[in-house]
């Protein structure tokens, strides 16, 4: 049967509404996803017990599998917040963005992406990106215009800007994981701990392996003398501390792990 699940994935109106709303929002943080799930239960099946989020999502994913789409969970690189997005696994191009942007704008994004991936820090400076404006496909774009386009990317959550430099938003990493691995197989960096795509992170100065900041935090948790997991050399960077249940606060590492923070919702 086309479009039907080959396993016994259960698709009720609760799941359908969840999918609709997840798609509408593009990318959501875990706290919002939980709230969304609760809302869908309330609307369609208020007497049922709310399934654990992980099982709920796995259930839906088993139905989506045959459609080559998936609810993917990722973690923001700078402060370890879990995020969720519905992604298309079958794509090998920047297809999600393609309908939003003109040809030259898409090419600007590709150029910025390439610079980000090739860089050591995971950031590409505004100047370097803008210098490539003459090489863009499509209609000629001036630097002023390109600055505006970069801001559009930031607003649509494809890029993050920090002090004049740009890196990939968690959403872009989630959605373009496959595209990036296929397009830049040699330049792509991978985290030594979780093996997923790495844009920002810390690296060992001796052997060069890299780790995401949240992965570093978890791996070296309560370890006063961190050593590289690969070459065992002393780990030269400050180990960040994250509270994984932080909600909607900008990433700031704090020295006190157990600081009490009241939930906003």
């Amino acid at each position: 049967m086309q479009g039907n699940t080959r396993r016994t994935g259960i698709m009720t109106d609760v799941h359908r509404r969840f999918l609709q709303l997840l798609m509408t929002h593009g990318v959501l943080e875990e706290c919002d996803v939980k709230r969304l799930q609760k809302h869908c239960y309330k609307v369609h099946d208020c007497n049922a017990t709310i399934e654990k989020l992980e099982d709920f999502i796995n259930n839906i994913n088993s139905v989506l599998e045959s459609l080559y789409i998936e609810i993917k969970k990722g973690v923001t690189e700078d402060d370890g917040r879990p995020i969720y997005a519905l992604v298309n696994l079958a794509t090998t191009s920047i297809s999600k963005m393609a309908s939003d942007f003109a040809e030259n704008e898409l090419d600007l994004f590709r150029k910025a992406l390439e610079l980000i991936i090739d860089s050591d820090t995971g950031f590409a400076s505004s100047t370097n990106i803008l210098n490539l404006v003459d090489q863009l496909k499509g209609k000629k774009m001036r630097k002023k215009e390109a600055e505006h386009v970069l801001q559009k990317f930031v607003q649509s959550k494809w890029l993050i800007e920090k002090e004049g430099e740009f890196t990939l938003h968690g959403r872009a990493i989630l959605e373009m994981d496959q595209y990036i691995r296929e397009t830049y197989p040699d330049a792509v960096k991978v985290c030594n701990i979780c093996r997923s795509l790495l844009i920002q992170g810390q690296s060992c100065e001796t052997c060069g392996i890299r780790m995401h900041l949240p992965c570093v935090a978890k791996y070296f948790q309560s370890n006063s003398e961190p050593h590289c997991p690969h070459c065992n050399d002393y780990w030269p960077h400050e180990v960040p501390v994250f509270d994984p249940e932080k909600e909607r606060e900008t990433g700031m590492s704090r020295s006190n792990k157990r600081s009490l923070r009241s939930r906003q919702h």
Binding site: Q2, G3, T12, L21, T24, L64
Partner: protein, 297 residues
């Protein structure tokens, strides 16, 4: 968001002739009735195909497994089209049939009907969305929620759908005034949200561009010069898309929430909203059938 225009639906009697002509494995060209030369796919027939994809209208499942030359590739195209439609809808862009053909269906134009049928079926079963032809003339489709109760789901994430809130504020201002809202009036209202035309906002960005260009492009608003006024002034009206997707009752509910009043505090507007709601119910008596089945078809 809800559409309030009557969708174009061919009766089943009409479609018999088009249904017997289906792609067959010997690759003869499929003949669409009423096809203009060079144009593939009569939109009405396409709407039928889209409708056939809806489970509670599908005549029998055997009709949904045609014998095209490359079934696996047709399935893949249907999946691509599904994603394409979902993304367009997410971006609140118009889903235009010629774009669908150009961007997704491509060389499989001959089988666009069966692809469309399959896509509609998937969208209905998995997402609870109907792919509906909203305008025969312009060949526009839209995704309509098929689940009960229909409401703007902003309730779920009320502080996370700022665009809708912003748009609704402007639409409700226009509605309450009963005519176009001058740009100055709109800015007075937006000032309450802390928005100014010259200030960039952390969520909305350039607000003025958003409301005078983007919302206008998406047909949610119309931005027109006020005639015979010097120096030039502009005013906002509801766009065609707003009229289709947002009901007056939704506006009343929004106003009630924002001002913490009963919607009947605007008596003439409330009456209008009630009348519209009644007219819509009469136009779509079978529009909402709650489906909660575990296994379908």
């Amino acid at each position: 968001m809800r559409t309030s225009s009557p969708g174009v639906r061919g009766g089943k009697a009409d479609s018999k002739s088009s249904r017997t002509r289906r792609p067959c494995s010997c690759e003869t060209e499929q003949i669409c009735p009423n096809k203009a030369p060079g144009e593939e796919g009569d939109p009405k027939a396409l709407q039928q195909a889209a409708d056939e994809g809806r489970p509670h209208q599908a005549p029998s499942t055997s009709q949904l497994s045609p014998a095209p030359p490359a079934p696996a590739q047709l399935v893949q195209k249907a999946h691509e089209l599904m994603w394409y439609v979902l993304v367009k809808d997410q971006k609140r862009m118009i889903i235009w049939f010629p774009d669908m053909v150009k961007d997704v269906i491509g060389s499989y134009k001959k089988w666009c009907r069966s692809i469309l049928r399959r896509t509609s079926l998937i969208l209905a079963r998995v997402f609870g969305l109907h792919l509906r032809l909203t305008s025969l003339h312009t060949m526009e489709f839209s995704l309509v929620k098929a689940l009960e109760p229909e409401e703007l789901d902003r309730v779920a994430l009320s502080n996370r759908m700022p665009m809708t809130g912003l748009l609704l504020m402007i639409l409700s201002l226009i509605y309450v005034k009963g005519r176009g809202a001058r740009e100055s009036a709109v800015w007075n209202v937006l000032r309450i949200l802390g928005l100014r035309p010259w200030k960039k906002h952390s969520t909305f960005g350039d607000v003025r561009k958003l409301i005078t260009e983007e919302f206008v492009q998406q047909n949610y608003l119309k931005y027109q010069r006020v005639p015979h006024v010097e120096p030039p002034e502009y005013e906002f009206f509801w766009g065609s898309r707003a009229s289709r997707e947002i009901t007056k009752m939704q506006i009343m509910e929004f106003l009630a929430r924002v001002f913490k009043k009963n919607p009947q505090a605007w008596p003439s507007r409330y009456r209008e909203a009630l009348e519209e709601a009644r007219a819509l119910r009469e136009a779509h008596p079978t529009a909402h059938c709650p489906r909660n089945s575990v296994s379908e078809d």
